[in-house]
């Protein structure tokens, strides 16, 4: 298989994996909101199986799980570089999504809860300053 074909296959698996995972979440919430039924249970089981299968083909069989979870000493310099870039991007995306979710929960709450707004502000501050603080702590010169 050519490198390009293999990359297209991996990208298709990424889309499929997240799609079925979000569909599974949607089905679970639908069940909670409108009451559980056999149809919802079957749909949830099918989606769960698809999520697991796409995860196995995308992360386990390609060793991507190992690449992003192993100790840095086990990786060569190119692997360290690409995982570093990937983690940097993931940190940004994960931070934005988590904070957006927290903000939505804080604003959607019928009773105003100042603790959630304070938590949002504190985590927002931490997300932006943590990388710089680690550099300040570790590096001799920046």
């Amino acid at each position: 298989m050519s490198i390009r074909a293999s990359q297209s296959k991996r990208r298709a698996l990424v889309v499929l994996n997240y799609f079925v995972m979000f569909a599974l979440i949607a089905v679970i919430y639908t069940g909670e909101m409108y009451g559980e039924s056999t149809f919802i249970a079957v749909a949830a089981i099918c989606l769960m199986l698809l999520t697991v299968l796409s995860f196995v083909f995308l992360h386990a069989r390609t060793r991507l799980w190992w690449l992003t979870h192993t100790k840095i000493e086990n990786l060569d310099e190119r692997q360290q570089g690409i995982t570093h870039e990937s983690l940097r991007t993931s940190y940004g995306i994960f931070t934005v999504l988590s904070l957006a979710l927290l903000l939505v929960i804080a604003l959607a709450n019928q009773e105003y809860d100042p603790n959630l707004i304070v938590a949002f502000a504190a985590l927002h501050y931490l997300a932006h300053t943590l990388p710089g603080s680690i550099l300040a702590w570790r590096e001799k010169e920046v």
Partner: protein, 84 residues
């Protein structure tokens, strides 16, 4: 900062010596896929890795890596002789 593309002779040198990508990878201490990236000139090695590659082939770094597309080694040797 944008990095420059580096050209290299790793594929030719490896084939000349009759060693596989996996064997070269073991000698220089990287994953065999990284050797593929290096040979396709899709990855610029660190100075440390470049030295390990140069030691493996027993050639100076400038004979293996360049910032301009590389001529066949025979042509470069001829050029050196003419200049010398």
């Amino acid at each position: 900062m944008e990095t420059r593309k580096l050209y290299n002779r790793i594929a030719v040198l490896r084939q000349e010596r009759g060693i596989s990508r996996k064997e070269l990878a073991e000698i220089i201490g990287v994953n065999f896929q990284t050797v593929g990236y290096l040979e396709r000139e899709e990855y610029n090695p660190s100075l440390d890795l470049a030295f390990r590659i140069s030691e493996c082939f027993g050639l100076p770094i400038e004979m293996i890596f360049a910032t301009e597309p590389l001529q066949p080694m025979s042509q470069e040797l001829l050029k050196h002789r003419k200049e010398g």
